[in-house]
């Protein structure tokens, strides 16, 4: 079925609008003279890129390793309560990196809890957890669940017969992994690892609180002290280029959505562990869950209780809560609406044009939010002042970076709409519109709405774009947390954090039970 011209037109204009930030930045950069560029190069660009990339590499490696370990342990080994362990291991995903950073900064600073409880004094010697190490640990802890979820679903679909065959041929132990399991997991591992990498590149809150100089932190610094200067644009475009390279690479390992497993793959019998093995496994999980869940939540609770004397806590949170909810709801609805014509077009046609569209839209996924924020800031101030500092622009900025999530899941469900369904419907007397509303839309709705839940969650957590683009007087929980945390007002920050976690728990629960079923 050919795409009607109207849909093509709508989608093309959408595409242009959504990618306009990148083009704007490019245009500004191209207007630099060569002399200016070399001047900036001497301004620590090398250090910033090095810092950013080294953090990228270590976090990707460690979170991939961690996610894989948990994944393999919970799916292939006989462990009592492995379902619970899996769920607990996924939960750190709910915690935004800056909240995680907040808890670790406030715990391991020399006045912090660790010192208080374990060393019984405040110590000048204790340097605290910050900088590279701090960023590494925090980012790993709160992004490894991406790897965990994706690799577990892939592992569960791997037909275990191959592994049994290998075992019958005498291959055992570690070789099973290196020769049989991991090679077949190559795609999901690369895909999820790079997903983590994109998150790291884009991260702003954690590295700010940890005081580690990455590109995002530098961009924000320039935003505050030299907004009219060119380094702001220059670093933004460099960061965007980096992320485009990564996301382009990632698409090589993209999971094929339409890969339906015919029949149920036989799940292998779980391997039994020796006592020593079990002890090791449980210790591993204890440590992981302690650092990923227990410490953050306890620390937050501690700060809240400590600051509960100031009744200010509760009232101050309402404004931020309202802001977070309105933005999250609006952006998820908006994204859903925009996604529909795009998804319809992408799955009906497999032409070069639609594949091109898809590639561009998916590349929006990894875009660093702070760079998008900078671009939109300039675009609105200079070109469309009437929407500058408006709620609409803020929502639009979210849609740009979160739309790929809806499209991905919408497309997956669209692929279940077979051509024969549509023909059957029209054969039974339904015109195109009725076919769409009775057949196509209900089938893709579940996919699109789970994508919308993702957008809701992501918007609740979002920080840098909100900082740059919000209307005067508009606050979200994320902003409250970040600004309180950077001023050392841990009680306020923790209280807002807990509210944020509670409100985002619901869609996360929906999503994780979905992925558990898969």
């Amino acid at each position: 079925m050919k795409t009607p011209k109207s849909i093509l037109l709508v989608n093309s204009s959408l595409l242009l609008i959504l990618t306009s930030p990148i083009f704007f930045l490019l245009w500004r950069v191209l207007n630099f003279s060569n002399i200016e560029i070399s001047e900036y190069l001497s301004w620590n660009l090398g250090t910033l890129v090095f810092n950013t990339l080294s953090l990228f590499v270590v976090v990707v490696l460690s979170s991939t390793a961690l996610g894989l370990c948990v994944s393999i342990l919970t799916t292939r080994y006989e462990l009592f309560g492995s379902k619970l362990l899996f769920t607990l291991s996924v939960l750190p995903l709910v915690i935004p990196s800056y909240i995680g950073a907040l808890t670790y900064v406030s715990t391991f600073s020399s006045k912090g809890l660790f010192v208080q409880f374990f060393l019984n004094s405040s110590s000048n010697q204790f340097s605290g957890l910050s900088g590279f190490i701090g960023s590494w640990i925090v980012l790993t802890l709160f992004t490894y669940p991406y790897v965990l979820i994706i690799c577990t679903s892939a592992l569960r679909n791997l037909d275990a017969t191959v592994e049994d065959a290998a075992r019958s041929l005498g291959i055992s132990g570690f070789s099973i992994y290196s020769r049989v399991i991991l090679p077949r997991l190559k795609q999901p591992i690369i895909y999820s690892g790079l997903l983590v990498g994109l998150y790291v590149l884009s991260d702003f809150g954690a590295v700010s609180l940890m005081n580690y100089s990455t590109l995002t932190k530098a961009i924000y610094s320039y935003y505050t002290i030299d907004i009219n200067g060119d380094p702001l644009i220059f670093y933004s475009i460099i960061l965007i280029m980096l992320s485009l390279v990564i996301s382009y690479t990632q698409r090589g390992g993209r999971i094929n959505y339409s890969q339906k497993v015919s029949g149920t793959p036989r799940v292998s019998k779980k391997i039994l562990l020796s006592l020593k093995g079990k002890l090791l496994a449980y210790s591993f999980f204890s440590i992981l869950i302690t650092f990923g869940l227990i410490i953050p939540i306890s620390v937050l609770s501690y700060w809240v209780v400590k600051g509960a004397n100031g009744g200010n806590l509760i009232s101050s949170v309402f404004e931020g809560l309202f802001g977070s909810l309105t933005t999250a709801v609006s952006s998820s609805i908006f994204a859903m609406i925009i996604a529909i014509p795009i998804v319809v077009m992408l799955s009906q046609q497999n032409s070069k044009l639609s594949r091109f569209f898809e590639r561009i839209l998916l590349s929006l996924y990894g875009l660093p939010h702070i760079a998008v924020g900078v671009a939109l800031l300039f675009i609105t101030i200079k070109l469309i002042p009437s929407i500058y500092q408006t709620f609409f622009t803020l929502i639009f900025s979210y849609v740009i970076v979160f739309l790929p999530q809806v499209i991905g899941s919408g497309k997956a469900s669209m692929e279940q709409v077979k051509k024969s369904y549509l023909e059957a419907s029209s054969g039974l007397g339904m015109n195109k519109l009725k076919t769409f509303t009775k057949i196509t839309f209900p089938l893709i709705f579940s996919g699109i709405s789970s994508g919308a839940a993702l957008v809701f969650l992501s918007t609740m957590k979002e920080l840098p774009q909100t900082l740059l683009l919000r209307p005067t007087g508009f606050n979200t929980l994320a902003i409250d947390i970040w600004s309180n945390a950077s001023e050392g007002l841990y009680s306020q920050a923790s209280f807002s954090s807990i509210i944020l976690l509670l409100v985002s728990a619901i869609p996360t629960y929906i999503l994780s039970t979905g992925s558990l079923k898969n």
């Binding site: 620590n44 005081n211 935003y223 505050t224 030299d226 009219n228 609805i333 609406i337 500058y388």
Partner: protein, 335 residues
């Protein structure tokens, strides 16, 4: 099937309602203030202003230099009516772009002459001094630097704290470039950068850190120390005022009215309010700043302005021209 369409329609209607709800706060009668001063320090003053005059305010809180840059970027499309800045350089930058209206003579005369713009485009509200914050138990023979340059010594390795992106710090550096020249300033910056300093995003975390024993010497504005003590009912930390140079700089916080403002009457009322006894008293008693528009019996915590050794006769406009150089040097030095 119809159910889905109905849900979507409801959702869309909700979205439109929400958007318009949030937008409706955009009243012409609201005074839009870009405040480089922290919410926790000034929001009560704004509330009292609204109570007294009935004029609603909408405040955008951020760093002063960020707001200055934003206003300049916004140009004639700026939604701001008033720019209330923590430091004079930010004000001068906006002034030199021609974005401020002239302030009336009578208003300018309310404050000392060093606290106004030489072209009458902004007026000071309260004063603050650069200072070192240390624990009250700090042993003076560990070093009381006379000037900033004394800090650039090996003996201060690992003992200093800075907020290099904070506008007061940048103003201080601009002062150094202005008075002492680029080379000397850059040398100092590089030196300090190599002394294992601790970095902070703002002034208040430094003060807390000193109190906690995490940091020995912080470079802040004087009132943060005094306010911290008051809030925590403690006396652990004190200010050390330098004897000379830009480390002793006394700066005014100030306001200017945007010439594109549609609320100039309200804006001028706000300025008057900031100079009123209520506000000036609040600045003295609540935030421990130097009131500029009124004289009160000295707060025993505060030294008198005359006793401080701020560099004299600083032309803020001239000083502001050095800000971009100051930023460049700061970045080049590795901060």
């Amino acid at each position: 099937m119809n159910k889905y369409f109905r849900i979507n329609k409801v959702a869309f209607a909700l979205l439109v309602t929400l958007t318009s709800c949030v937008q409706s706060g955009d009243n012409e009668s609201s005074l839009v203030i870009y405040s480089g001063r922290q919410e926790s320090l000034v929001s009560e003053i704004f509330t009292e202003f609204t109570n007294e005059t009935g004029i609603k305010v909408e405040v955008r809180y951020a760093q002063s230099n960020e707001l200055a840059g934003t206003i300049i970027l916004e140009g004639e499309n700026s939604p701001a009516d008033i720019f209330y800045s923590q430091d004079p350089v930010s004000l001068s930058l906006v002034a030199s772009e021609g974005l401020f209206d002239n302030i009336s003579e009578s208003t300018l005369e309310k404050v000392p002459s060093w606290a106004v713009d030489s072209n009458g485009l902004w007026v000071g509200v309260s004063g603050r001094s650069r200072s070192l914050v240390v624990k009250s138990s700090y042993q003076l023979d560990n070093g009381v630097p006379n000037s900033l340059y004394d800090l650039n010594q090996e003996k201060y390795r690992g003992r200093l704290g800075l907020a290099p992106t904070n506008s007061s710090f940048i103003t201080m550096i601009s002062c150094m470039v202005y008075l002492d020249g680029e080379e000397k300033t850059f040398e100092w910056l590089k030196g300090i950068n190599n002394l294992d300093y601790s970095e902070y995003p703002k002034n208040s975390p430094q003060v807390a850190a000193v109190d906690a024993g995490e940091l020995e010497i912080g470079l802040v504005n004087h009132y943060y120390t005094l306010r911290f003590n008051a809030e925590n009912s403690s006396n652990n930390i004190v200010n050390l005022y330098m004897a000379e140079g830009c480390g002793a700089l006394v700066m005014p916080s100030g306001v200017g009215v945007l010439s594109t403002s549609k609320n100039k009457d309200a804006a001028l009322k706000l300025i008057d309010f900031l100079h009123s006894e209520y506000a000036q008293k609040a600045f003295l008693n609540n935030t421990y700043e130097f009131p500029l528009a009124k004289n009160f019996d000295d707060n025993s915590e505060l030294p008198s302005l005359d006793s401080l050794n701020s560099p004299k006769n600083i032309n803020w406009e001239k000083l502001s021209k050095f800000q971009s150089k100051a930023i460049e040097l700061i970045a080049k030095a590795g901060f």
